[in-house]
Symmetry: C2
Subunit: 184 residues, 2 copies
DNA sequence: AACTTCATGTAACGAGTTACATGATTAT
DNA sequence: ATAATCATGTAACTCGTTACATGAAGTT
C-alpha cells in the first residue's frame, strides 16, 4: 500500500495536516501495523492535491510554518474506494528478534534472557497501549484493530514466556531446587 | 538486519548455495518472518567472500551453471556473533489487510466477507505449514519459532473469526435488541 | 507445448528513509 | 539550559526488488 493511499485513508477519517497524519502512523491506530515518514507524507499530500483528490486550506500561524489542513474530495473518496478494492499485498511480519533467537547459542546466556525479557515487556506495553486507546476513533474498524492487536500481543507475550526455556535451556528451578524467583 | 547478516546466519546452519539460501527464506523456517531475493543474496555472498567471512567451492555441473557452495569461516562466525549482539531493530508487522478493514464500509459487504474468509484460511494454512515442518531443522531455536508461529497464526484466525461481526455487522441470526457486546 | 526446478548473476528502477534546513514555544 | 512539541519541506541516499539474460532437464 503506497503512502498516497494511506494518506487518503487517514483523511477519510477527518481533515488533518501532514503533521497530524504522521502522528496517526506513530501513536494512532495505524501505528500498530503501518508506517510512514514525513519524507513520504508531505510529497504524497502535494501530489494528491495536484490530482484533485484533496483540497488544502492554509491557516496562518505566528512563529510556526502555516498549517496546511487537507480535506478529501469526492474524487479522493472514489479513488480510495477503488484502491481498497484492489488485491491487498500479503501481511508482512518481519522479526530480527526471531532471527537472533535461532542463533541464541552464539550469545551469552544473560544477554539472551535480557532480550527475551525486553521483548515480553514490549508486547505487554503494546497490549496496554492498545487497551487504553479505546474510543480514540469511534469506528468499528478501529475497535476491531484494537482487539486484534491486543489478542496478538498477549498471545505473543504468553507464548514467549511459555517457550523461552527452549532457547534458554531448562529453568534453574526446574533442574534443581526451589525456584529462586521471588520478586513479583 | 541486512541480507549479508542473514546469509551469514543461514550458512552458520550449514553449507549452502545462493539458490538454497533463497529457499530458506521462501519455504524454510526463516520464511515466516524474513525475506530476501536473489538480487540481494548473490551480491551479499560475493561481498562476504571477498571479505573473508565465507569460502566458496565451485562444483561443476553439466547444463546448469556451476554450483557455488559457500561455507562460513571462523571470521564469519565471529562477525555473526558480533552482529547478533548489536541491538536488534523492532519487529515490524505490516498489514494492508487491517488498513482495508478500517475502511470496510467503502466496499461491498460480500467483498469484505471474502477478504476475511481468505485471511482466516491463510492463517490456518500457515499454522498447518508450520506444524508440518517439525524437525526440519533440529535446533531449539527452530522449534521455538514453529511454536511461536503456530500460536500467532491460530490466535489470529480465532480473533478474526470472533470479531468479524464488528466490521461485517451483526450476524443475521444474532440480529436482536439484546445487548450483544460480550467481548468473549 | 508449456511450465517448473535448478542455478547464477546484473542493471534499472522504485519507494521510502535519513538527515538536513528553519525556528518559535513550552515544558523539564 | 535542554529537550520536546509543533510544523513544513527537500535532497541525497540506502537498500532491496523486479525484470531480464541464459539454459538444460524433467514434468504435466
Amino acid at each position: 500500500m503506497e503512502v498516497k493511499t494511506l494518506c487518503l485513508g487517514a483523511l477519510a477519517l477527518g481533515d488533518a495536516t501532514g503533521y497530524e497524519i504522521k502522528k496517526m502512523f506513530e501513536d494512532g491506530v495505524f501505528g500498530h501495523f503501518l508506517e510512514a515518514s514525513y519524507g513520504s507524507i508531505y510529497p504524497a499530500l502535494t501530489k494528491l492535491t495536484e490530482d484533485g483528490l484533496l483540497t488544502c486550506t492554509t491557516q496562518e500561524q505566528d512563529g510556526k510554518p502555516d498549517k496546511k489542513i487537507y480535506s478529501i474530495t469526492p474524487e479522493g473518496s472514489a479513488a480510495l474506494s477503488e484502491r481498497l478494492g484492489e488485491p491487498v499485498s500479503e501481511d508482512k511480519f518481519r522479526s530480527d528478534f526471531l532471527f537472533v533467537m535461532v542463533f541464541a547459542h552464539f550469545l551469552p546466556k544473560a544477554a539472551v534472557s535480557r532480550l527475551i525479557d525486553d521483548k515480553i515487556a514490549g508486547f505487554q506495553a503494546e497490549a496496554e497501549k492498545l487497551s487504553s486507546e479505546t474510543g480514540t476513533i469511534g469506528t468499528p474498524g478501529a475497535e476491531f484493530i484494537r482487539r486484534y492487536g491486543q489478542t496478538i500481543m498477549r498471545a505473543s507475550a504468553e507464548c514467549l514466556e511459555a517457550n523461552r526455556h527452549l532457547i534458554e535451556g531448562p529453568l534453574p528451578g526446574q533442574e534443581k531446587k526451589e525456584p529462586a524467583e521471588s520478586l513479583a
